[in-house]
């Protein structure tokens, strides 16, 4: 058996495979649900209604998708240029802590219209800086960035933990390790009252379109792709390799930092070490599901959020262990990865 790359993809294939993947994932999850003694089809229905069946569930799904779009874009942009940024989680946290510290200690009192953009910039820069470290190691010493970015996640998280346990600790938080709450003017406006949905979703979607445009239409987009696919060929064609990768890293790290910023300003208001349930890591999977297409990232993020919020809510209403939510997400991600593969390859003897 071997796999042969498809040169053409039929529309049917592109639509049918992901559906098959979801069906497969739900079938396996169904077995586990049945093991818990719950009626399987009712559980499926609950997954759907818990994700979209009410105002609350729909807004929750969208709220959860927002940071995933940004971390997914961060991964997609970098992977396009073959910059393996596995450090989205760390960049997310650094962005969050930088923005919240800036809001408390630098920009407190500034009006929203001024403060929020400033904080976005601060958070994005923090994410960039964290990614520029492994990038410069790669450019200078040719150190593979997969492991370095991965390791920096833990350094960043410990660093944040140290800050919120030290200099940035909120004195009013009863000793709980968390940062001081951001300025009220720094909180992102809600899209809907009585929900957690904030304008971060809109920002994320707009950025997705922007990136799509940059990648497909601009000189930089073509050059960064060339740099990723064949560095020495790109150099021969006059692509400034180092500069291109630096810009890519800045965009990627910046987006992950921005994700953290938006999450902290939009949802929580302060930083703890459980601000992110792995958004940085999920972003990588989201990006792969989307085949690194920025618009696809929006859909993949929505899909991932739907699966999680749906299954999580289902577990609560069916009274089965909460962990089924993560199981379902993992299964859908894995089967979706396989599905994406089969849209690109066919089996040959």
């Amino acid at each position: 058996m071997r796999f042969e790359r498809r040169e053409h993809r039929s529309t049917l294939l592109v639509i049918a495979t992901p559906i098959l993947a979801v069906v497969a994932a739900l079938a396996i999850a169904g077995v586990l649900i049945a093991l818990a003694g719950a009626p399987v089809f009712q559980a499926y229905w609950k997954i759907l209604t818990s994700a979209f069946g009410s105002r609350l569930s729909a807004t929750e799904t969208l709220t959860r998708a927002s940071p995933l779009i940004l971390t997914g874009l961060a991964a997609a942009v970098a992977f396009r240029a073959r910059l393996w940024n596995i450090g989205g989680e760390g960049q997310f946290y650094l962005g969050a802590i930088a923005a919240s510290a800036a809001s408390v200690h630098l920009f407190a009192g500034l009006p929203s219209l001024l403060q929020i953009p400033l904080l976005f910039a601060v958070g994005a820069v923090a994410g960039m800086v964290l990614l520029l470290v492994p990038l410069s190691l790669r450019l200078r010493f040719s150190v593979d960035e997969v492991v370095t970015t991965l390791l920096l996640n833990f350094v960043a998280l410990l660093f944040v933990s140290m800050l919120i346990d030290g200099v940035l600790k909120d004195p009013a938080a009863f000793g709980w390790p968390q940062s001081e709450a951001v300025d009220a003017a720094a909180r992102l406006p809600k899209l809907l009252a009585r929900s957690r949905l904030h304008i971060g979703l809109g920002i994320a979607v707009v950025i997705a379109f922007l990136i799509y445009f940059v990648q497909t239409r601009t000189v930089f987009g073509v050059q960064s792709r060339a740099a990723g696919l064949n560095p020495s060929g790109a150099v021969f064609a006059g692509v400034p390799l180092g500069r291109t990768l630096v810009i890519v890293a800045m965009i990627s790290g910046g987006l992950a930092g921005l994700a953290g910023t938006i999450e902290v300003l939009g949802v929580k208001g302060y930083v703890t070490t459980d601000l992110s349930p792995g958004y940085g890591y999920s972003g990588i999977v989201v990006a792969m599901l989307a085949n690194l297409n920025p618009l696809g990232v929006v859909l993949a993020a929505l899909f991932t959020a739907t699966m999680f919020v749906g299954a999580d809510g289902m577990s609560r209403s069916m009274g089965i262990p909460t962990y089924i939510a993560d199981v379902t997400v993992a299964l859908s991600l894995l089967s979706m990865l396989v599905a994406v593969f089969f849209t690109q390859y066919r089996i040959r003897r």
Binding site: D165, A173, F174, G175, W176, L275, P277, D312, R316, T322
Partner: protein, 298 residues
Amino acid sequence: AAPLKVAGIHGSPVENAWNSVLHAALQQAAKEGVIEYVFSEGVSGTDYGRAMREYAEQGNKLIIGEAYAVESEAREVAGEYPETAFVLGSSGKQAGDNFGVFGTWNHDGAYLAGMLAGKMTKSNTVGAVGAMPIPEVNMLINAFGEGVKAVNPDAKLLVSFIGTFFDPPKAREAGLAQIDAGADILFGERIGTADAAKERGIKAVGSLIDYTPRYPDTVFANALWGFRPILNAAIADVAAGKPVGKDYTAYGLLKEGGSDIVYKKGVASADAESAMEAKRAEIKAGTFEVPRNMNEPK
């Protein structure tokens, strides 16, 4: 009356001692037919707000849980669901009519256990392993230390924090480290500590739940905390249509029957035990109050 619909939202897995106290009380109440109980565990800060909202929308009347990592958001949610009563573990204050709080004040028991430990230590060094230096943990460890010093002013207290709420092997390592540093009795604010004591054949004190059955030869005393009195008070308020926006902490005090010490008789000397029992009676009578020191123990 139909049983009250109650939901529990646990930030940690329900094996975590603190959550297990809530969980056991809730399960017991459900078994007695007082309430109908559903729960979620291991709910992260990001998901906590949603879980609260979902349970509120599903028609639960009382929601029990922990606001520590989500203090402001929890109050926000309560504001949005005025029909639902929320009673959450918190270091903060109650809010509005439907947001009540409770603290974990089993420091009375810790003080009393400290009195036993102070008399038992031969190295004049005792240890305490805690999660993080947050007020309630500090208060507990400080109370234990005060109890030790009350009977043995020369004794030294070693304190370690493991930096997380839930890593038993790590708590065990921290306990071993204290034993290596000379401690011969450990106060295990965190589960795992007693395993170190057991391994080295010394004695340990448990917190929140009764660890003695689990470590029969090791854990000789426990600073118990019971949630049932708090739960009962909250259920009664909800059933009576009274606002729950108050502080339920006091129901957890020894004086109110919410917490206590349980200990294995005959491990400490008879003198030590009777001195301790005398103090216990004073606390019950309200004539003695264990100091509440929430500063990080040094």
